[in-house]
Chain length 328, copies 2
């Protein structure tokens, strides 16, 4: 088997840990990325999470915004404004190349996964980046008042509406991206060693991935430990509306709340030192807890957290083999 | 009737005279523009002639190239190249806004003429700019060896192939743009005063317009004098492959050759001073000849040639009214 680790990722936080893992694992890493926030804008197929992961792994991401490309220019947007086009979603001049080429190739019948693989090859990314599916899945945000496409909620309305629920249109009929077979090598001796759920928003970024029929089962069948890193630290989200959504959905924003959300899926959960007092309550949910420094402010933070995750997964595997004597 | 003059135009040379006419006529000018060179590139609907006319009328055209926008930047193209996309047709960052908005609106079912009108309004263009049709017409260049879409010939292969013929796919079934009715006001007292064929390539830019079923008849029915400005001066094209194509099609490149091509359609023909010796032979084709300074190097050249054309048309009308006593 080529790949040692599968990471599940959405946007900025997820991309950072994926970059840390890629630094350690290079082509032994595969990242399965949310496409529920994909949308069409100005006729272009935009894949925000996928692009954030690709740009971050390529070392091209804008460190200030977390999305888009570093050193981006905005001549296109200025002209769109002059021509009376929509400007609420900003597309940089360089970023546009990704969207235009992708849109063109998709219209010619290429699969999103194939287009993404070409981009990764061109940008020198050794890791395998897989959109979760080549089918169309669209995250819809429900509020008490109306239902919104995800980017309407996230960008146009700046996460202001109260979220009463989420749905993933098309997920029930979507097929998991074909490339995952080669990554998981289900049941094969020496197969994948760990599945790592990155600190992306569990409701907006990870839930669409886990909504794909058969994905949880495919992951479980590998026998590899499944661990997640809490995106909530000290009761707050590092970035984005995760804490706000937890409150709106009736859960106190905390690492424990995230652990409850993931209960049954995870073998291990990484929480920040700030949240160490929640370790016993989380362990009571049936998962092993590891306390670590999880906030990634610098590139070396990403690598340190990635190393922590790999060590944690190895420890879980060792404990399982030692206690259960179940051959993997 | 609002409009006094209809101009037929293709690319750079045509756009320059159209700008001169617009300077004099403001909202009394309508320009009917070739769309046979429209094509899809990177999934975008590109309308090169239409954009050249719009940008030139808006005072935004790049004076060095004749196409595209002045002060353009190229970040998009640089990134397209990095991502392995096609780079033979160059789209500037600002220019892209036109293509992206147009493509999006066309896909939503808007007509090209409506999108163009919106652009003109946003860019402060008083003249009416009409794509020749809202239907799909595509110029195909035939060589002895193969048939090429126009932009393949014009940009990718830099007009190198020998042209053995041209065809305008879809022209036979295309409907003249609806907005032309309001411009022509056929047969109405005080209707259009002149139809001016700008010095665009007769085979590549004007022929597709005249290939639309009924267009020649519609123009003739107005009773207005039809005049053209020769794009060939001193046996050479000011810009582009007109002279080369004339040779390849078996005609010596000259103002006379262009006049022969237009014979039966024109009442008057404007030739450059350099070509004054051809005046008698051209007049023998049944059209009135006017000798003028036709090369437009400066903005005031454009206005001077426009003024010359308007005076010529007025003289033709006066002569016709005086001699025939036919009420218009």
């Amino acid at each position: 088997m080529k790949h040692r680790v599968l990471a599940l990722a959405g946007g900025v936080g997820g991309a950072k840990l994926a970059a840390g893992l890629a630094h350690l694992l290079e082509d032994k890493l595969a990242v399965l990325v949310n496409t529920g926030d994909d949308f069409e804008h100005l006729g272009l197929h935009v894949s925000p999470d996928l692009d954030t992961v690709v740009y971050t792994l390529a070392g091209l991401a804008n460190p200030a915004t977390g999305w888009g490309l570093a050193g981006e220019s905005w001549a296109f947007m200025e002209q769109v404004e002059k021509l009376g086009g929509e400007t609420w979603f900003r597309l940089g001049d360089r970023d546009l190349a990704t969207h235009a080429i992708r849109t063109d190739r998709l219209r010619r019948g290429e699969r999103l996964s194939a287009v993404t693989a070409q981009f990764c090859q061109k940008l020198g990314i050794a890791a395998t980046v897989l959109p979760m599916t080549d089918d169309r899945v669209r995250t819809v945000v429900h509020s008490g008042v109306d239902d919104m496409p995800f980017q309407d909620y996230f960008v146009r309305r700046k996460c202001a509406p109260e979220v009463t629920g989420l749905s993933f249109e098309g997920a029930d009929e979507a097929t998991i991206v074909a490339g995952l077979d080669a990554v998981l090598g289900a049941g094969v001796e020496g197969g994948i060693e760990a599945v790592i759920v990155c600190p992306s928003n569990p409701w907006l970024s990870i839930a669409p991935i886990l909504a794909l029929p058969g994905l949880r089962e495919r992951i479980a069948a590998t026998g590899a430990p499944v661990i997640a890193v809490s995106p909530i630290v000290g009761g707050k989200a590092i970035k984005g509306p995760a804490a706000k959504i937890m409150r709106e959905l009736g859960t106190k924003p905390s690492a424990l709340g995230v652990a409850r959300h993931y209960a049954g899926f995870l073998d291990g959960f990484v929480i920040d030192r700030l949240d160490a007092s929640q370790a016993d309550d989380i362990a009571a949910l049936g998962m092993t807890v590891r306390v670590a420094q999880t906030v990634m402010s610098t590139p070396s933070d990403r690598v340190a957290l990635a190393r922590e995750c790999l060590a944690f997964a190895a420890a879980l595997t060792a404990a399982k083999t030692g206690s259960d004597q179940v051959p993997r």
